[in-house]
Symmetry: none
Subunit: 407 residues, 2 copies
């Protein structure tokens, strides 16, 4: 299963009303379309815009209305934190704020390696005013980190919003009237203050300033979540699966679903990722697994940045990655499911509720007439219009081990 | 959103196996298809034939299995009666009955203005035998009126069936064994008797007889209903909407959903309606609203009458109406959703469970290859086959304010 995150799009004036998938050179994706059956996929249902958590959970068969317990939980699991019931987890941005705590850059200049060093300084934070709440902080990826609060009577009703440049930060308010939300917001406020003091004059930030780079002088938690109840993938489907991805959300979903996660050096979660390294890792994994989930984050990142060229270039890199894979497998033995987890509109720089194209290439499927993998062609494909929750049943069926009803 | 009531149909032998939409000249509807994406829409789900209440509620996102509490409630609201919980509301036909109370004409010769005068005579009715039940009667449209019974312990388990010529009327039986149903049927029987006495020798009817027209000497209640629980549209979708329609059902749905209703002089709810007046009202309304629902009843009326020519002619009037609209908007700014609320089969003179064509014209959608708006072409369109409950999520998504799941 090859997932291009946010790879689908709407027609763009700049591309003569084509989508990036239509405008890109995608001979290998098109080979899959040619040798397979295509269709439209609503990750949730028509018109609903999923976050990447909801979309990817839905596609691997978990009801997103139940399993989406706040993105922070998946991010924390992806960063290797063993969550306990009762914990409240946050995703965090390393960000640049001014002296009034107004966000200047919510990604601190897309900080990467430097964030790892800064995270070290935050490892030992103990709260004093809220000393019954334990703090766990971990760098996850690029400008991202995760924060877990552990203690009695805390709540995820706090810090839901993504930080944006121009917003004031540093004071987190409870989102309901409960004692738990109040306690949690107090802890967050104290964490923010302590971390800001540790980061402000950190040597890494001094160096960044001297190089004209925005300092990562704040850590802003958001996307509060709790441990979801997810039935292990292997138990649910009797399949041994592996997952290859760069971003901690997907790592976290894999970890919480008990799916083996394969780390790939060179996978950056951005458009500069090493797609060949990922292809090779997938080819190795499929030798010992029933199913490999190969996720590429780049198209979503390019879309959120409004970067049309970048989106086309990462789509073409995914195309080469797919070429490497299908040159080294036999479609009689290994089927390929190619899809996007959701549409990310470059024009609007956000996820939308449009359907995505899906292609299933296998010697077991009835080939249709579709010869290109894109949004416009897919609607005439043999799969018709399906939903995220149908994907795993279709894959099990393809493997000739469908879920059976009655008998 | 432009709704042609019952506009879709089955192929007709008389039209060389075309549907009325295929046989009509519809250059403007086809322009929408050309500049948009089309598909098939099941108002409820495949094969289910909806009443106009269920179909229109479903299309604007209300679960018809919950919101359809009896057509009378919507008709009464549409006629301007403020329903209270506990009320039982009926739609009514002004009809012609003979001395044995057998229905001779269930629409009293499609009586119109005369019905308004006759309704005046029924305004002050007080029940004597059932004096604890209050009666409210109002003319609504053409041959139609509404009756509301107000009092304790009454029930809509009575008078469900549409009156038909040849049926005996005047005695309404309870449809269950409850005291409430018995009390309600007693009240209805008394109302029928009193109203018949008031109408029988009314000067209007004397005049109608002398002119050879069937007298409206009876009011027959049917479609008993109770106040439904409907979340206000604006609260549900954060959209300011307006509705343009002639018939009281649609008025009632709008009223109960808190949608602003725009009265249009010349809108008759029949094939002689002034569609240009409706187009102009819609163009005015869209300047101050996020969404305008423009409903045209005519095709359904023609279908129930088995009037093929009439159906084609009202479809062509809708086409001109659409032309007036799209000549005066910019599809970059205003999207058009064109659909029928359900199929009404001319051959069978009733609603059927066939899907209807839907077209969404907008600069935001991926245009497909469909160049005509009709039942046959729509099935190859880019929308695939969707359901009524998907329409509002798709519209919100088109507006780039989709419902979001996860984060």
């Amino acid at each position: 299963m090859i997932i291009g995150d946010g790879m689908a799009d709407r027609p763009l004036r700049e591309l003569n009303h084509q989508t990036p998938l239509e405008a890109a050179e995608t001979e290998n994706l098109d080979r899959l379309a040619l040798e397979g059956v295509s269709g439209l996929l609503d990750p949730i249902s028509p018109g609903i815009a999923p976050g990447s958590d909801a979309a990817n959970l839905s596609i691997i068969g978990y009801d997103p209305y139940k399993a989406c317990t706040g993105r922070g939980a998946f991010e924390a699991a992806g960063a290797g934190i063993e969550l306990k019931p009762g914990d409240v987890a946050f995703r965090c941005n390393f960000a640049t704020v001014n002296e009034d705590f107004v966000i200047v850059d919510e990604r601190a200049g897309r900080i990467r390696e430097d964030a790892l060093k800064l995270a070290d300084a935050l490892k030992e934070i103990r709260l004093k005013e809220n000393s019954d709440i334990e703090v766990i902080f971990r760098h996850s990826f690029g400008f991202r980190g995760v924060l877990v609060l552990r203690g009695d009577r805390i709540s995820p009703s706090v810090a839901s919003m993504m930080p944006k440049a121009g917003d004031k930060t540093g004071i987190f308010k409870p989102l309901d009237a409960s004692v738990e939300a109040k306690r949690t917001s107090n802890a967050l406020n104290e964490f923010f203050k302590i971390s800001h003091e540790l980061l402000r004059d950190h040597p890494v930030n001094k160096k960044r300033r001297s190089e004209g780079k925005p300092p990562a002088n704040a850590v802003i938690p958001w996307g509060a979540g709790k441990l979801p109840c997810i039935k292990p993938f292997q138990e649910k489907y009797k399949l041994k699966a592996a997952c290859i991805a760069a971003v901690s959300l997907i790592k976290g979903i894999a970890r919480l679903a008990g799916i083996k996660f394969v780390d790939v050096p060179g996978a950056t979660g951005y458009i500069d990722t090493d797609t060949f390294a990922k292809a090779d890792a997938a080819l190795r994994a499929i030798k010992t697994c029933d199913m490999v989930i190969l996720h590429v984050e780049g198209p979503d990142e390019a879309s959120h940045e409004g970067n049309i060229e970048g989106k086309i270039s990462i789509i073409e890199k995914i195309d080469s990655m797919v070429g490497r894979i299908i040159d080294n497998i036999d479609l009689d033995e290994v089927s390929v499911v190619l899809l996007a987890d959701h549409t990310t509109s470059i024009r609007h720089r956000k996820h939308t509720g449009d359907p995505v194209p899906i292609t299933i290439a296998s010697s077991e499927v009835l080939r249709d007439e579709i010869q290109r993998y894109n949004e416009r062609e897919a609607c005439r494909g043999g799969l018709g219009r399906i939903q995220g929750r149908h994907v795993m049943p279709l894959i099990l069926n393809l493997m000739c081990r469908p879920e059976v009803l009655g008998g």
